[in-house]
């Protein structure tokens, strides 16, 4: 008896601890419950597997970019060796984040090949035309969007295509425009040769508004060695018709000449400005990308989930209704069928709920919709153990055993079935947790934790509570433990 009392105090202590934990460390809610955006980034590698180092490197660049974006909260995790998951709570439109993060941001400085001046001029012109066409097409009002309008664009496009001697493979007009722009960009880049100066030589980036107009420019600050390289390069082409191109991810964002006055020393001072007609937004994106450095491997955004805040709070409410009504149904069923024993199982279920939630805040487990369904489902499984035990206790009572004896051997004999059953469920959870996506992991985690805790509550807590009840003479009548109709006959 002494030992059981010890257990009772221990359980009360655990309950108090759980309540304390829950008050002081509130549960972490997933995005489907609080609203926000989640992006899954896939690292692209043509050959072989992404190594740990590469994953770390990509992770750190993305992390820097996210920080420089200035979002208030964010959470970046790696998943499965070649994916990253970025959560932006509260973010309703992940467009900017996706643009900033998705780019490799490989910055190159290239000098023009001698004697290509006229080729470049021609390509620059085509680039201008195609940019205007894209602009015209995208900003068209729906009223203007008729056959005539499309024909004008198509005709202009045809002219460029003839000029370039390039046939596109895309069959939709917008796709064609984009494809040809890419082709022109590539051709322009090909007129320049690589230098040893790149984004790696930057130590900082910034932006400011140009004085003469409302456009923005991006400022680059080089490291010491970068500054030297930059002056060397500018010195080599100063005063010649050759241009210096700044190339970002294969697309030239600025081509500029270097004046004759720099012929002796090159441009010194360790900084440069890119003024490529940037909007405020574009300048900021570029700044963030350059500050974070370029990605060692390209990434692709393969999944985007966005959930409104209102929907999130509705989801919480719905889950709460479902959980509570589930508990009530189960409680009524158990008390109706098992009377005192049913009441004991309801008490241990309540304990079960508290222990579960407390453990979520302790580990911590982020609560998501699938997670909640795992929890709700595990309620049913937790009761299962109780039912097994109670049925055994009743059989012992029918056999004419005393109450205490029946309770003892009921728990003992149900033990192996309970453990077996729990192990098969745990196996499933374990596999789900190892192989599943984030979404699935939430379910596996809560169901798995639930199954483990239910071993404790249904075996230990139920027994302790039951023992405690039976210390009272009035609760020791056998008929309180047997079904009503059965006892009357």
């Amino acid at each position: 008896m002494k030992k059981r009392q010890g257990w009772l105090f221990f359980i009360i202590f655990l309950l108090t601890l759980s309540v304390y934990l829950l008050i002081n460390y509130p549960l972490q809610l997933g995005l489907d419950l609080q609203g926000g955006s989640q992006l899954t980034l896939q690292i692209i590698k043509e050959e072989g597997k992404v190594t740990k180092d590469e994953l770390e490197a990509v992770n750190s660049v993305i992390d820097k970019r996210v920080n420089n974006l200035g979002v208030s909260e964010s959470n970046l995790q790696t998943l499965g060796g070649d994916q990253l998951i970025l959560e932006l709570p509260g973010e309703q439109n992940p467009l900017v984040a996706s643009r900033v993060l998705g780019k490799t941001a490989l910055l190159e400085f290239r000098t023009q090949i001698e004697g290509t001046t006229s080729d470049l001029k021609n390509l620059q012109l085509q680039r201008l035309i195609i940019k205007e066409l894209i602009e015209k097409y995208s900003s068209a009002e729906k009223s203007q969007y008729d056959d005539n309008f499309l024909k004008v664009i198509q005709d202009d496009l045809n002219e460029i295509v003839q000029e370039l001697n390039y046939s596109s493979t895309s069959n939709d007009l917008y796709g064609k425009l984009i494809e040809i722009k890419k082709y022109v960009d590539k051709e322009i880049t090909n007129l320049f040769i690589k230098t040893d100066l790149s984004g790696k030589d930057l130590i900082n980036a910034g932006r400011r508004q140009e004085q003469t107009n409302s456009n923005w420019e991006v400022l680059l600050t080089f490291s010491n060695s970068g500054g030297e390289k930059f002056s060397e390069i500018t010195k080599s082409i100063a005063g010649t018709p050759q241009l210096l191109a700044i190339i970002l991810d294969g697309e030239s964002i600025s081509e500029a000449s270097v004046g004759n006055q720099f012929a002796n020393t090159g441009i010194t001072g360790g900084s440069a400005t890119i003024s490529g007609n940037f909007s405020a937004e574009k300048a900021r994106e570029l700044e963030v990308q350059l500050k974070g450095g370029s990605l060692p491997l390209p990434i692709e955004i393969v999944e985007t989930n966005t959930i409104g805040a209102l929907l999130g709070s509705k989801n919480i409410l719905k889950s709460l209704y479902a959980a509570i009504s589930g508990l009530i149904f189960v409680g009524i069923f158990m008390i109706f069928n098992y009377r005192i024993l049913g009441f004991v199982s309801v008490l241990s279920l309540v304990l079960y709920g508290f222990f579960n939630l407390a453990l979520y805040s302790l580990i911590p487990v982020t609560l998501t919709l699938p997670g909640i369904s795992g929890l709700i489902l595990s309620i049913g499984m937790a009761v299962d153990a109780n039912i097994l035990i109670f049925e055994r206790i009743r059989e012992e009572l029918y056999d004419g055993n005393t109450l205490t004896r029946s309770i003892d051997s009921g728990f003992q004999r149900a033990n192996s079935s309970i453990v077996d059953g729990h192990i098969t469920t745990l196996l499933s959870c374990f596999v789900l947790f190892l192989l599943g996506t984030n979404f699935v992991k939430g379910f596996a985690a809560t169901l798995g934790i639930g199954v483990l805790i239910s071993l404790f509550t249904s075996l230990n807590c139920s027994k302790t509570i039951l023992r405690f009840f039976t210390t009272y003479q009035s609760l020791r009548q056998k008929n309180l433990y047997l079904p009503r109709n059965n006892f009357s006959n």
Binding site: G35, T40, Q42, Q92, S98, Y137, S138, K142, Y145, D172, Y174, E300, V302, E303, T304, T306, I307, G308, L310, L311, K314, K318, Y321, A322, A323, S325, G326, F329, V330, F333, M334, N337, L369, S373, I376, I379, G380, M381, V383, D384, L388, E391, E395, S417, D420, G421, T424, L427, S428, C429, F430, V431, L432, L435, T437, F439, V440, L447, P483, N486
Partner: protein, 304 residues
């Protein structure tokens, strides 16, 4: 209360009934593989094939107007740029026209924003706080599918291994037969649901199959445990002992299923829509699982 299921008498009926169920399921799976537009054993949802799913509520003063989806689609086509996407768009109004639900092939975030803007122009204003948007690239979809199939196979293997170690070969074999019976039937039901109601399955369906597997084996194990225990203290004949054991554990198994079905029913009734089919699959699995544990698996053990 004593139960008296006449297992011995009805052995043939039980096995026959299960065979019919299995055949119907296989028929659904075959029909789905060869005779549907998607040519897959089951209608794979966005999680596995990639795409864009958007649900958003409209702000309406009293009742929401009911524009026919066709007109809205027509207008969307007019003002959107990417024709390719708009040819494969599915649009539905639900909840008294308050909720718009759209499925398209994969879009970039930018394109998805455009779509929402266009929608706002046509049937707006929209309540952006109620937005639920998912974009899944086709690459990720494929990967998810492989992942789910691997998880299923690995955990089935793990469960089989555990059961084989834990029981004699005969018991293990029959427990596993019952397990596959349950999984095939639930899978078949969803194949049929896909054919008739175009219900799609996503990664949560795989999770439900896995959970059903764990659960169904659990139920069978409890009954087999009881049979073994009773066979040791053999008072009656072999077949009679099995029948007695089933009747002894009948209450436990049905009660457990009921207490598990209650919470699932609560999720179906009150929970979020994203958990509806998941809970339904689990409920079906638990029903089929209890049936196979109580009636089918022990019938296998009966001697003629």
């Amino acid at each position: 209360m004593k139960y008296n299921l006449e297992l011995i008498k009805n052995k043939r009926k039980i096995i026959g009934f299960s065979t019919v169920l299995i055949l119907l399921s296989l028929l659904g799976i075959l029909y789905s593989t060869f005779n549907t537009s998607y040519k897959k054993p089951i209608n794979l949802g966005m999680d596995f094939v990639g795409g864009n799913e958007l649900r958003i509520e409209r702000v309406c003063e009293e009742e929401c107007s009911s524009p026919p989806p066709e007109t809205v689609l027509e207008k969307l086509r007019e003002i959107s740029k990417n024709k390719n996407v708009l040819n494969n768009i599915k649009l539905q109004f639900q909840n008294n026209n308050k909720l718009i639900s759209i499925r398209t092939p994969y879009l970039s975030i930018e394109e998805s924003n455009n779509l929402i803007n266009n929608l706002d122009n046509i049937v707006g204003p929209l309540n952006y706080e109620s937005k639920d948007s998912r974009l899944i690239g086709p690459k990720l979809g494929k990967r998810l599918l492989t992942n789910c199939v691997t998880s299923l196979l690995v955990s089935l293997f793990a469960i089989s291994l555990y059961i084989t170690i834990r029981f004699d070969k005969k018991y293990a074999l029959f427990a596993l037969l019952a397990l596959f019976h349950d999984l095939v039937i639930v899978f078949g039901i969803f194949s049929w649901l896909g054919i008739i109601l175009s219900v799609e399955v996503n990664s949560l369906f795989a999770v439900s199959l896995l959970t059903i597997a764990g659960y169904s084996v659990n139920d069978t194990v409890v009954i087999f445990d009881r049979i073994r225990e009773n066979l040791k203290s053999k008072k009656e004949g072999y077949n009679e002992t099995i029948q007695l054991s089933v009747n002894e554990s009948f209450r436990r198994t049905t009660f457990t299923s009921i207490t598990t079905l209650f919470p699932l029913l609560s999720i179906i009734l009150f929970g979020s829509y994203s958990l509806f089919w998941f809970s339904l699959a689990l409920s079906l699995g638990i029903l089929v699982g209890s049936y196979s544990s109580i009636l089918l698996a022990p019938s296998f053990l009966l001697k003629d």
